[in-house]
Amino acid sequence: MTTVAYARRATEPTTEAAPRSASNGWWGMVLLVATEGTLFAVLLASYFYVRFKTSGGWPPDGIADPKLLRAFVMTVLLTASSFFMYAAESGIRRGRQRALVLGLGAAFLLGLAFLGLQIWETVVVARELTPRTDAYGSLFFTVTGAHSAHLVAGLLLMAWIQVRAWFGVYSQRRHLGVQMAAIYWYFVVAVQLAIFVSLYLTPRI
């Protein structure tokens, strides 16, 4: 590579075309998700650690297996919301404002529905199991509680992006905010899948 060619390329930043590689904001969000994902991995690892250290059944004696139906519906709702999020994101990538607004709206409502069900679920479970019952109860509520906190943060983020979308802030070229909200939301959904499998399904096998 000659100096001249190189210097020329370097001195003419490609501000016109869309950037070829991911932007700062994208990387920032990915790293946030990486560290938060590790947080949940550690929480679930603690859950399994305590479980395998417990002799006898799991959940520990006298505690019923977690009920599947509501949690299953919740997981389905949240998974569905991620598809709407995807539709919104790929819509704006082609400059479709309607797809963006509708997709975000649907994803947000599904997330809200999830939150409602989660509260219901917590109230029901808490009738026989609380964080103070034993380590199982503590882990169950810590994991689901941490997830709910992240879900609420995700909903707030989405609401913000939503309002900005109504004002037409995003365009085919500039929609980093949407991209970032989407990454965060996929993460929230993925954690729910992990929670459903770990806390709800595995006690039954």
């Binding site: 190189y6 991911a22 790293l31 380590a135 900005r164």
Partner: protein
């Protein structure tokens, strides 16, 4: 050309005064604040250490009570690890990374300010326990069950647990900022394999932070929930397991040793070639070793727990991983030695500290390999041998390089030279004092002296070694005092420094000392790993400045490049000063003090303030204007 520089001055200048002090986002100012604040914590922890050494100088000394002694070693360890070494190296990283890669600021300047304010706030949070006599008192790794409410009912442990959760926010945000800065803001032509080794080290460290710190957060959150909210994680009577704390702590703690140690290695790799007057030998190997150390560090946590009775097979695995860490360390040592031996070394202060580091670190490494053998570890665990070992690794591995860095970059940061003779005197005092303090601890440890005892009876053969140790710590303190005086004196009286007093190879030496607010009048273009030794390239930069190319003078601008190749991609507009990072850090403090004092209304208010500050921070005006 003059006009361009003037314009840059105007765009980037931050006026003096209190407002600008609170709103600054200049990575150089933030970096220097980090360095000063971390050093202040070093002094605090050093004083705690001196008090301990005074107490241990002779048998049956009664200077401090056993309870105070517990607080002293706990606070000393916690401060040194979390409030001194890590932030000190963040300080170097903050100041140097943008300069080394030819950028004008960090990728997220406001987040950077936030990291600093949170570091300061969490440090003050932890130290606010001292006036009340409630400092952490369960050792720096805070094992349960001792740290549970039943055994430590007071708030000592809450200061520890909440304080560490608090500071984690700062460290994680800082790490993400470093990664993005290094990935995206390198000067055109600085492909990843031409990046200064210091930046490699910061990069590897930052990834380790991203994946290691959550474990610490989880552990401390569980502990707080257990202590104050009636949860159960660690109590067997309620289905928990105390070993869970140890696993969680060391999943974080062992990588943390490398989080401490890697940037220090980066400093060494910066100093060695410059003072050996040649390019570093085995650049690729060193970069690789840096990354490997960061990764293998995750495989070794269990070696802190060899004495807990884990299954044999897993012990064998972790033992092997502990031995493996020797390989990258060995590569590094040999690359440095080869560079020194084939170069023409100049024995200035920074280089002396590096040599001291190599000697001390090799000894620390040897005793470390001894621990990797499970049977040996089981014999010496919790004895003074361990105290000796980890001070050789931590002081040798981190503090010697930090002192090297302080002297090496002092001219760049201050625009003045330090006093060379005083520098060399400080080195010899520190080197001799260090070995005198910590070498005898190997012996007293092998003679059976346990760690964390506030006193001991005479007649066990430990007296002389302890006295030597205490004398050594006095010599060491004198050495550190000389450094402090040298810095203070040189800030006023030192000879003015040129832009490149050492003949350095990296880009920070290509700009003036101290650098202007905008770092570089023109974004440099790079074609090797020693860019400041490529005279022709630097001449081209000057010519481009004349011609007015690649100046980026419209606002806080810098250039984004591609992650691997470092090809120019787009001009970025960076955010400028803002008060929100400071406000947000205050809001977080409200949350944490609320939790500490069980004032949950206050904590909730704090959360609202946090949300409000985040919203204020992201007020969209700017972006709307852009579009």
């Amino acid at each position: 050309m003059e006009a361009h520089v003037e314009r840059l001055e105007k765009v980037w200048a931050e006026p003096a005064g209190i407002v600008s002090f609170l709103t600054s986002v200049d990575h150089k100012r933030i970096g220097i604040r980090y360095l000063f604040t971390a050093f202040a914590f070093f002094v605090a922890a050093g004083i705690e250490a001196l008090v301990m050494r005074a107490q241990l100088a002779r048998p049956r000394e009664g200077l401090v009570s056993p309870e105070t002694f517990d607080q002293l070693f706990s606070l000393h360890g916690t401060t040194m690890i979390f409030l001194f070494v890590t932030p000190m190296l963040s300080g170097f990283g903050n100041y140097l990374v943008p300069l080394m890669i030819g950028a004008r600021d960090m990728a997220f300047p406001r987040l950077n300010a936030l990291s600093y304010w949170i570091f300061l706030a969490s440090g003050l949070f932890i130290y606010s326990s001292v006036p009340f006599g409630l400092a952490p008192n369960d050792g720096w790794f805070n094992y349960v069950p001792l740290s549970e409410k039943a055994f430590t009912p007071d708030k000592n442990i809450d200061f520890y647990a909440l304080g560490l959760i608090f500071i984690t926010i700062s460290t994680t945000a800082g790490a993400a900022n470093f990664i993005v800065t290094i990935f995206k803001l390198r000067a055109p032509g600085m492909s990843i394999n031409r990046m200064p080794l210091f930046c490699w080290a910061v990069l590897a460290t930052s990834f380790a932070v991203i994946f290691a710190l959550p474990s610490l957060t989880v552990a401390n959150t569980m502990l707080e929930l257990e202590r104050n909210w009636g949860f159960h994680f660690f109590q067997p009577a309620h289905g928990g397991d105390p070993l869970l704390w140890q696993h969680l702590f060391w999943i974080f703690g062992h990588p943390d040793v490398y989080i401490i140690f890697l940037p220090a290695i980066g400093i060494v790799s910066s100093v060695v070639p410059v003072f050996s007057r040649r390019s570093i030998v085995g650049y690729e190997w060193l970069a690789l070793a840096t990354v490997l150390t960061g990764i293998v560090g995750f495989g070794v946590w269990v070696h802190h727990m060899f004495a807990t009775g884990l299954p044999q097979i897993s012990m064998t695995f972790f033992s092997a991983a502990s031995f493996m860490i020797v390989i990258p360390s060995g590569i590094q040592i040999f690359a440095w030695l080869a560079t020194m031996l084939t170069g023409r070394p100049v024995l200035k202060t920074p280089f002396l500290y590096v040599l001291g580091f190599v000697v001390v670190f090799v000894i620390g490494g040897l005793t470390g390999v001894m621990f990797a053998a499970v049977p040996f570890d089981q014999q010496t665990t919790d004895s003074y041998f361990v105290v000796a070992h980890f001070h050789y690794v931590l002081f040798g591995g981190a503090v010697f390089p930090i002192f090297a860095g302080v002297h090496y970059w002092f001219p760049k940061m201050s625009g003045r030279m330090y006093h060379e003779l005083a520098g060399q005197v400080s080195f010899w005092l520190v080197f001799v004092g260090f070995n005198l303090t910590f070498f005898p601890m190997h012996v007293s440890g092998l003679l059976g002296m346990p760690r964390r005892v506030y006193t001991y009876p005479s007649g066990l053969g430990w007296d002389a070694y302890n006295l030597l140790s205490t004398i050594g710590s006095g010599v060491l303190a004198a050495g550190i005092l000389v450094i402090v005086l040298n810095v203070l004196w040189s800030l006023r009286r030192g000879a003015p420094a040129l832009s490149d007093p050492w003949g350095g190879n990296t880009l920070e030496w290509s700009t003036s000392s101290p650098p202007p607010h905008f770092n570089f009048p023109v974004i440099p273009i790079v074609r090797s790993a020693d860019p400041n030794w490529d005279l022709e390239d630097r001449r081209q930069d000057a010519l481009r400045l004349e011609r007015g190319e690649l100046l980026l003078v419209d606002g806080h601008q810098t250039l984004a490049t591609t992650v691997l190749e470092g090809e120019a991609e787009e001009e970025l507009h960076m955010p400028s000063e803002s008060i929100w990072p400071f406000v947000l850090a205050l809001a977080f403090s409200v949350v944490f003090f609320g939790l500490l004092l069980h004032l949950y209304g206050v904590a909730t208010l704090g959360c609202i303030l946090v949300a409000g500050s985040i919203a204020g921070w992201h007020r969209p005006q700017r972006e709307l204007q852009d579009q």
